[in-house]
Symmetry: C2
Subunit: 217 residues, 2 copies
């Protein structure tokens, strides 16, 4: 009926979308009944999810959806910031016209998404696509995938954070600037821009208070 991969994707989706809030209990027997599969292959899936920090396994007690770890978020942002500075400089030196148009196309779709309903989800998806495309064009898809493996906390953080009014336009404008700097090979300005784009207002107390039920203490 379901393959292990399908089950894994379903569970990941439900966790990333915050449909299952942090703290939600995932019982092996309940899942095994739901998917009509024995506990053994399901345990494989849960093990893998726990290694990627989607869930926490408490031996002989149970499995719960992990709480968002803000330290992990900050560390990933630092990592991406350092990496993407380098990647943008690489691209400045070698970006083909065809690839530039591909990036611009994504930006156009992202601009359209700002106005739509459920704007945030569509926008975020295109945001990831934009960054991912830069990794791919720079020959660094391997590193994009590597980061994705430890990205649960950051992805959920961003979904909550994105609800701020005006945030979408700001992000979009910065993407636009990235392209501009790359085209003009303005490497000096790239560092500062990437830094601001990724690290802007981490850890605001306002955020922590508003979503405290999602966050690891």
């Amino acid at each position: 009926m379901y393959t292990k991969e399908q089950i894994m994707d379903l569970l990941k989706k439900d966790i990333l979308s915050l449909k299952w809030k942090p703290g939600t209990i995932l019982s092996e027997t309940a899942l095994s009944e739901r998917f009509q599969l024995s506990r053994t292959p399901l345990r494989d899936v849960l093990k893998q999810l726990s290694l990627a920090s989607y869930i926490d396994i408490y031996p002989k007690k149970g499995n719960i959806v992990s709480y968002i770890d803000l330290d992990s978020v900050e560390q990933i942002i630092y990592l991406r910031s350092a990496l993407e500075k380098e990647i943008l400089k690489d691209l400045s030196a070698q970006l083909a016209l065809k690839d530039l148009h591909e990036l611009k196309d994504i930006l156009d779709r992202q601009k359209a998404a700002i106005q739509g309903e459920d704007a945030a989800d569509e926008f975020l998806c295109l945001d990831d696509l934009f960054h991912q495309m830069m990794y791919i064009l720079a020959g660094r898809e391997f590193l994009w995938d590597l980061i994705q493996q430890s990205n649960v906390h950051y992805l959920r953080y961003r979904k909550l954070h994105m609800q701020k009014i005006g945030k979408l336009e700001e992000i979009w404008r910065e993407h636009q600037l990235m392209l501009e700097y790359m085209v003009n090979q303005d490497t000096a300005k790239i560092d500062e821009l990437v830094h601001h784009h990724l690290r802007d207002d981490m850890n605001s107390l306002e955020f922590i208070n508003k979503f405290s039920e999602y966050i690891k203490k």
Copy 2:
């Protein structure tokens, strides 16, 4: 008798030390007899090893120690290079005297290790310790651990590569320079140094030919 963690560490050690060459078969039943444990918990261990690329699992065929993936090595080097430029700059701005002495101490031990027998293993261990300590001092241990999770290929590559005569002294001198630049806050020179330190002569044909039996095609 053995816990799963102990077994995992043993297997990791045997793979990283190249005691088990790439291609070596790891049979579940053989391991289960060796460790006097049923297949179920052993499968957990093997699954985890495969997620970290220590082994490749071929369904219904068998498990083998993975071949060294040079692309993965290059990607990890790029990642570390980008990250450590940033980390060294951070440290330049805030390094405490006590911490500086800790780094110098590691360097002294590393210098001593150059002369000893089995120099390479001891030297490599201290090399990792030096870099790890910089991550820790910069508050980035999280990222060090993250990289370690995808480091099998790089660690084995380095072990082979390090056999080159004169390599040890060169690495040590560059470590020394890193400290110097940090103390003098000479951020301009750091980029170039880190780049050379990590990326030096990747992918030389000489290397590929000499160790072709270890390398993924």
